[in-house]
């Protein structure tokens, strides 16, 4: 399941719900991404492409389900202006075995960081700037090509 939203979410409540709707699995892996206040960051704004973002996230989830035997998968991604400490993204995967759950969760995060139509604008005391694409994230995604 895919959700792209401006509103905050509650990672604990999401994990509880995910765990309850998933039956007879042995392994649930989750990842929560948060805004870091490194280097005096005041806020970051995630621009996105409504419609295409959801489509891409659905495609990424389908690809993960194709590659690993997942009982369930959840991706929640926020957009809009976020402050240090805010939740950005939550991914949960459920499978029979831990290796599949872990690998699918990492795969989803690598793709979200590199393929999903989100653009990051960072505000510092000196002003704001759009973040340029990082080659390390591309390298992380290239692992899966």
């Amino acid at each position: 399941m895919i959700r792209v939203q401006a509103e905050d979410f509650d990672p604990g409540a999401e994990l509880s719900r995910f765990r309850q709707t998933t039956t007879d699995v042995g392994a649930v892996a989750t990842f929560l991404g948060l805004v870091r206040g490194d280097g005096g960051l005041i806020a970051m704004t995630l621009d996105h492409y409504p419609g295409m973002t959801e489509r891409q996230l659905e495609a990424i989830e389908a690809e993960a389900r194709r590659r690993w035997p997942l009982a369930d998968a959840l991706v929640i991604h926020r957009h809009g202006r976020l402050l240090p400490g805010d939740n950005i993204v939550f991914v949960a995967t459920a499978s029979t075995h831990r290796q599949a759950a872990f690998e699918a969760c990492e795969f989803l995060m690598d793709w979200l960081k590199t393929k999903a139509p989100f653009w990051k604008f960072e505000e510092h005391a000196q002003g704001g700037a759009w973040v340029e694409a990082k080659s390390t994230d591309d390298a992380a995604a290239a692992r899966w090509e």
């Binding site: 295409m52 993204v89 999903a116 653009w119 990082k134």
Partner: protein, 83 residues
């Protein structure tokens, strides 16, 4: 034809979305970009370095030689920078 701009491309063009009616001889994304550059100094600036620009047509990533149809939704954006 609906054109969308994201991130700094929106800042440079000054618009997030515009409806345009390009001349009939414009057949592909590359031609559309050249034509859009004539709309304003901001548009010309946004498309000054095309190595920084990515394109989606009807929400699918495409290359510059992708053929266009009148009802297409064409989006321009920089490489994505994730969450």
């Amino acid at each position: 034809m609906k054109i969308l701009y994201f991130a700094w491309l929106r800042g440079k063009t000054g618009v997030g979305e515009e409806d345009v009616d390009p001349p009939a001889q414009i057949a592909d994304v590359r031609g559309l970009v050249e034509w859009l550059k004539t709309r304003s100094a901001g548009h010309a600036d946004a498309f000054a370095d095309l190595s920084l620009v990515r394109v989606a047509v009807n929400q699918d990533h495409v290359q510059p030689d992708h053929a266009l149809n009148p009802g297409d939704e064409v989006a321009f954006f920089p490489p994505v920078t994730g969450g």
